[in-house]
C-alpha cells in the first residue's frame, strides 16, 4: 500500500510539473507516467478518471501547498508588508528555479480546462478561494483591517498569478519586483 501511494504521489508530482509547463490540453497521461517512471498500466489503476482525475488531484495539492506556504511565511515575518514581500519572493524563486518553464499548474489547468470539465473548475475555484482566504487571514493577523485585508488579498493573488504569466513570456522576473513595489499602496488604498 505504501508503494502504491508512493507511485500515485510521484505521478501527481510529474503531472504538476507538466501541467504547469504546458497547460491541460497539451499533456497526455502517457507523458505523465513516463516522467514519473511508473508503468503505463498504472494510469487507470491510480486515476480511474484519467487526466481529469489526475488534474483534480494536482489542483488539490497545489492549493494545499499554496496555503501552507502562506501560513509558513506568516510565521516567519512581522508586519503585513514583509509578509507579502516574502510571498512574492518565494513565487519568484520557484519560477526562476525552473528557468521560467513552470508557472502555476492551477493556471495551466484552468486556462482552458474550465470549458471541458466542471468538477475540475470547481476544484480550482475552491483552491483559489482558500489561497485568497489564507492571505487575507495572514494580513488580518498582522493588524490589517479585515475588509482591507480581503480586498488586498484578492488583488494580491491575481497579481501573483499575472506576474507568473507575464514573467514566463517576457523571460524576466521584473513583474514580481514591480508587484512588490505596489504592496504598500495595496495595503493602504482601502483606508483613504
Amino acid at each position: 500500500v505504501a508503494r502504491q501511494s508512493n507511485t500515485q504521489a510521484r505521478m501527481v508530482e510529474a503531472g504538476e510539473q507538466l501541467l504547469s509547463e504546458r497547460g491541460y490540453g497539451n499533456v497526455t497521461m502517457i507523458e505523465v507516467v513516463d516522467k514519473a517512471g511508473a508503468p503505463r498500466g498504472s494510469i487507470y489503476y491510480h486515476f480511474p478518471g484519467g487526466k481529469e482525475d489526475l488534474a483534480t488531484k494536482v489542483v488539490a495539492k497545489v492549493g494545499e501547498e499554496a496555503v501552507q506556504l502562506v501560513d509558513w511565511v506568516a510565521t516567519k515575518t512581522e508586519g503585513p508588508e514583509a509578509f507579502l514581500h516574502l510571498l512574492i519572493e518565494r513565487h519568484r524563486k520557484r519560477l526562476e528555479r525552473s528557468d521560467f518553464a513552470q508557472g502555476c499548474a492551477m493556471m495551466g489547468i484552468m486556462v482552458n480546462a474550465s470549458t471541458q470539465s466542471e468538477p475540475l473548475r470547481a476544484a480550482a475555484a475552491d483552491a483559489f478561494s482558500s489561497w485568497i482566504n489564507a492571505v487575507a487571514q495572514g494580513l488580518t493577523s498582522k493588524g490589517v483591517q479585515p475588509g482591507v485585508a480581503r480586498r488586498a488579498a484578492a488583488t494580491f493573488v491575481a497579481g501573483v498569478e499575472g506576474a507568473i504569466l507575464v514573467s514566463r513570456t517576457t523571460r524576466s522576473v521584473a513583474p514580481f519586483s514591480l508587484l512588490a513595489g505596489v504592496v504598500p499602496g495595496l495595503l493602504t488604498s482601502g483606508d483613504t
Partner: protein
C-alpha cells in the same frame, strides 16, 4: 465546342483570341499528372512549383476583365482570412492553442476546408501569430478608448476592468485572454509564439503608461503601475474564469484604480471615485 466550353470552368482552359483553346493544367491536374509519372510527393511539389513558372498564364499580362476578377478574388480572399482570424481569436480564448483545431476554425468561420493552407501557409502557428497580432491591436485600442472616456487614469483602469468583466460575463465565463492561453501552453516550447505574447503584454502596458504619463505621473511610477495593472488584470481574468464570477476583476479594478489615483500628482482632480471605491 460545347464540351470544351463546359470544361472551361473546371479545367482552366485558356480561350485564345483565334478561337482555339489551349489547356493549361490546373495545379490539381498538374499534381495528378506528375504523381502518375511516379515521383514522390515532395518531388511532385517541387516540380509543380517549377512547372508553374513555365505556365503561360503566369507570364501573360492579365486582360482588364481578368484584372477585375483578380481584385475581386483578392478582396474575397482577405475577407475570408479575416473571418478565419476572428473565429480563431474566439476559439483560442475558449480552448487555447492546443485545444483548437484548424478544422474548427474553418467550420466556425464558414470557410472551405481547402482554404486553411491557402490562407495560412504556415499552418496553425501562422494563424496563432495573426490572432496575437489582432488581439494586441484590439487591447491597445481598448485601452485608448477607455482613456478617452475617462476623466483621469484611475477611471481608465476602472473602465478597463469593467469592459473585461463584461466580456467575461457575456461569454458565460469561457472567453479569457487569447495571449494568456497561448502563453501558458506554448511558452517554453515555441519561441515565435512566446515573442508574440511578449509583444501583446508590452504593447498593452505601453498604452496604459502613456495615459498615466499624460496625467502627470512620474515616468518610473507610470511604468510600474501600468505593468502591475496589466499582469493583475490578466491574473484576475483567470480567477474570474475559474470562479465563474466577475468579482476578481471588480476587486482588482477598484484596487488598481486606487493605486493609480494615489500616484497622481496633487492638484489634479484626485477623483472622488478613488475614495468611493475604497
Amino acid at each position: 465546342v460545347q464540351r470544351s466550353r463546359s470544361r472551361d470552368e473546371y479545367t482552366n482552359t485558356a480561350v485564345q483570341p483565334s478561337g482555339q483553346s489551349r489547356r493549361i493544367p490546373t495545379p490539381r491536374r498538374r499534381f495528378f499528372i506528375l504523381s502518375m509519372v511516379g515521383v514522390n510527393r515532395t518531388r511532385t511539389l517541387l516540380l509543380m512549383r517549377w512547372s508553374s513558372r513555365l505556365s503561360p498564364r503566369m507570364s501573360a499580362a492579365p486582360t482588364p476583365q481578368q484584372q477585375g476578377i483578380v481584385t475581386d478574388m483578392a478582396a474575397r480572399r482577405t475577407d475570408t482570412r479575416d473571418r478565419m482570424i476572428r473565429s480563431a481569436v474566439r476559439l483560442f480564448q475558449r480552448h487555447g492553442y492546443v485545444g483548437t483545431t484548424m478544422l474548427q476554425v474553418v467550420e466556425d468561420s464558414g470557410a472551405s476546408r481547402g482554404s486553411i493552407y491557402f490562407h495560412f501557409r504556415g499552418g496553425k502557428e501562422e494563424l496563432a501569430r495573426e490572432v496575437l497580432d489582432r488581439s494586441r491591436r484590439d487591447v491597445v485600442k481598448l485601452a485608448h478608448r477607455c482613456a478617452e472616456r475617462a476623466t483621469d487614469p484611475s477611471e481608465t483602469v476602472l473602465r478597463l476592468a469593467d469592459v473585461l468583466a463584461d466580456g467575461m460575463r457575456n461569454s458565460g465565463f469561457v472567453e479569457g485572454c487569447a495571449a494568456a492561453t497561448m502563453a501558458l501552453e506554448m511558452t517554453p516550447a515555441c519561441e515565435v509564439l512566446r515573442a508574440a505574447c511578449d509583444g501583446y503584454f508590452v504593447e498593452w502596458q505601453r498604452a496604459l503608461s502613456l495615459h498615466f504619463l499624460d496625467a502627470g505621473m512620474p515616468r518610473t511610477r507610470a511604468q510600474v503601475l501600468a505593468s502591475v495593472a496589466v499582469s493583475t488584470l490578466e491574473g484576475a481574468l483567470i480567477l474570474a474564469r475559474t470562479s465563474l464570477s466577475t468579482t476578481p476583476l471588480d476587486v482588482a479594478g477598484t484596487e488598481l484604480s486606487a493605486l493609480v489615483s494615489a500616484s497622481l500628482p496633487l492638484g489634479r482632480d484626485r477623483s472622488p471615485k478613488g475614495s468611493e471605491a475604497a
